[in-house]
């Protein structure tokens, strides 16, 4: 018996996933091109909105671009490594989770590398807007160089928070089987809302976006400190703490949910 590290197994499963995907080269290329096109059109939409309205409630064009870019990049990071969590319904409906449960490794570790893909379109789009926003704000002296490493850190904590929300939502599927509609609310709608400053929304709504579905901690709260100097460095520590806590809570919930898995009739 030899012991293989989880990380090694994970890498191997990702390689396997890419190789499987390459079996359908045409489909692979088409999907990549389409994803890039969708990203470009989405970007044009946002650019148009920003161009027309300029500043929103005291948030400058660059600041809003920054919120948008952080959200896009965090989501991209989450979906690159945790995409199957978002597609758990498929595994619940046809009982595919059975196979993963018979493997001698953590279920998430077996699940996540499935259908791994590199989201080049999203990275380019988000990266471009991020650079443009940062450059604009640095030029005007609003922020310093230190914002760059902090931004990378924020993208990472944001991805962790989005992953936790996605995992917790998916886990509800162990009771309901169908989760797509719920995901539309907790993932898509919440994320889209947080692409703009939360001050835009009524109190109850921004309250929800900072507690039940803490997407506000992905981009808005860290930006308050990083771009506008509100609060202190402790804001970033708090954001990291929120990320760690959400992750721990959603993992526990996931473990509990697994014991409620119902599979399908033979």
């Amino acid at each position: 018996m030899k012991r293989t590290s989880w990380f090694h197994l994970y890498k191997m499963l990702i390689r396997t996933s890419i190789r499987s995907r390459m079996q359908y080269k045409f489909n692979f290329i088409m999907a990549s091109v389409l994803a890039a096109l969708i990203q470009i059109s989405e970007f044009l939409m946002v650019a148009l909105v920003l161009h027309r309205f300029g500043a929103i409630k005291g948030w400058s064009l660059h600041e809003i671009g920054y919120l948008f870019a952080i959200m896009t990049l965090s989501k991209t990071l989450y979906r690159t490594f945790g995409n199957e969590v978002h597609h758990l319904e498929k595994y619940l409906v046809n009982g595919e989770l059975d196979q993963l449960l018979t493997r001698p490794m953590p279920v998430l570790l077996a699940l996540l590398p499935q259908n791994f893909r590199i989201m080049a379109g999203e990275v380019l789009q988000g990266g471009f807007i991020l650079c443009w926003s940062l450059a604009g704000m640095m030029y005007s002296g609003q922020i310093g160089w230190i914002a760059i490493p902090f931004s990378l850190l924020i993208i990472l904590t944001g991805a962790v928070i989005l992953f936790s929300i996605g995992l917790a939502t998916a886990t509800l599927g162990f009771w309901t089987t169908r989760i797509e509609e719920l995901q539309t609310i907790t993932e898509d709608a919440a994320r889209t809302a947080a692409q703009y400053p939360l001050t835009l929304y009524p109190k109850w709504m921004s309250g929800i976006l900072l507690t039940v579905i803490p997407v506000g901690f992905v981009n808005y709260i860290p930006s308050l400190y990083l771009l506008r100097g509100e609060g202190g460095a402790w804001v970033l520590v708090a954001v990291a703490a929120v990320a760690v806590l959400s992750l721990a809570a959603s993992l526990r919930f996931w473990q509990f949910g697994l014991t409620k898995y119902q599979s399908t009739g033979s």
Binding site: R19, T102, P104
Partner: protein, 324 residues
């Protein structure tokens, strides 16, 4: 030490009542109405090392649910499972690392990759040394004739080939305990024979403990030393096949052709039932639990001179039909 111990296994499925119309998913989520179904009720059994047990029952009786509870996929509502002393629900990873599991309905191989690639991945996953992997695969390749489709992507295999590939995959880490859920489903006679031969070798030569579910009574008859019957979630029989025959006491059919004339007595022993009279041929059903064959033949001989006797034992299908 038992290989499998199941104690008072119970599984109740609760499904929310599905709402119709708009936002049905959301409304279902927040509704408290559920329908519950007891799929498995108070099942207990022990399986010792080297046993080959058939687990049968009609569709929806709870076979798959039981197997999924045993293999750690489903958590029982109550009750306990031990596999070779380990608890598959509290210690899933360690336990399943020492099981072989095959579901006839779905493959555990990587659909788009050549068969041999799946073995490489599984070997890594189960921590199988390269030399062990090579040794076992060459053994399986011979027993299951894998080489002809070694480099074919799994999705292009025939059902028979895929089952063989899956069986080899489940044995790659050399588990002592093997769970097979309908491994011969949908296969032709040849493929079935091939797979049965392999399973027999695993059990007889390598001493593996095997639990098998199937709808094919030939599987049971040819392979299993013991059979468990589940119906409506409960074990209705657990024992050997011969004693299953005895328990049910299906009648043996005897066809007697008389030479010349014969005369049936007015009072016929209750153990004998005449089911057909056609000229010289009389067909009777006999309960063999009450009468031995010799006694019956002696009785029939008194009726006239016998030219020919033909006996038909109840076949296994009939027996099972009775148990269900």
């Amino acid at each position: 030490m038992n290989m499998i111990t199941a104690r008072h296994l119970q599984k109740e499925f609760k499904t929310p009542v599905i709402r119709e119309g708009r936002f049905s998913g959301l409304r279902t989520l927040f509704s408290r109405e559920t329908v519950s179904k007891e799929a498995v009720r108070d099942i207990s059994f022990d399986i010792g090392p080297g046993e080959f047990v058939g687990y049968i029952g009609p569709n929806g009786a709870g076979k798959s649910t039981t197997i999924k509870m045993l293999t750690g996929i489903l958590h029982p509502t109550s009750g306990e499972v031990r596999l070779d002393g380990m608890n598959p629900h509290q210690d899933r990873r360690r336990t399943v690392g020492r099981l072989g599991v095959v579901f006839g309905q779905r493959s555990q191989l990587w659909w788009d990759l050549p068969v041999k690639d799946s073995y490489d991945i599984l070997a890594e996953m189960y921590g199988v040394r390269t030399e062990d992997k090579k040794k076992r695969l060459s053994q399986f390749a011979e027993l299951l004739d894998l080489e002809s489709f070694w480099a074919t992507p799994v999705r292009k295999l025939s059902l028979g080939q895929r089952m063989r590939a899956d069986l080899a995959a489940s044995m790659l880490h050399d588990p002592e305990l093997l769970f097979l859920d309908e491994p011969t489903i949908g296969l032709d006679v040849n493929a079935k024979r091939n797979i049965r031969q392999f399973l027999r070798t695993l059990n007889e030569e390598f001493g593996k403990t095997i639990l098998l579910t199937t709808h094919d009574m030939d599987d049971i008859e040819q392979l299993c030393s013991r059979v468990m019957v589940i119906n409506h979630g409960q074990l209705t029989y657990d024992g050997s096949i011969p004693s299953l025959r005895d328990t049910i006491g299906l009648p043996t059919l005897i066809r007697v052709t008389y030479r010349g004339s014969y005369l049936m007595p007015d009072t016929i022993p209750t153990a004998i039932q005449i089911t057909g009279v056609e000229g010289q041929i009389v067909t009777v059903e006999v309960n063999r639990k009450e009468w031995s064959t010799m006694d019956i033949l002696k009785q029939l001989e008194q009726w006239g001179e016998i030219e020919d006797v033909e006996m038909k034992e109840p076949d296994f299908e009939d027996i099972i039909h009775r148990v269900y």
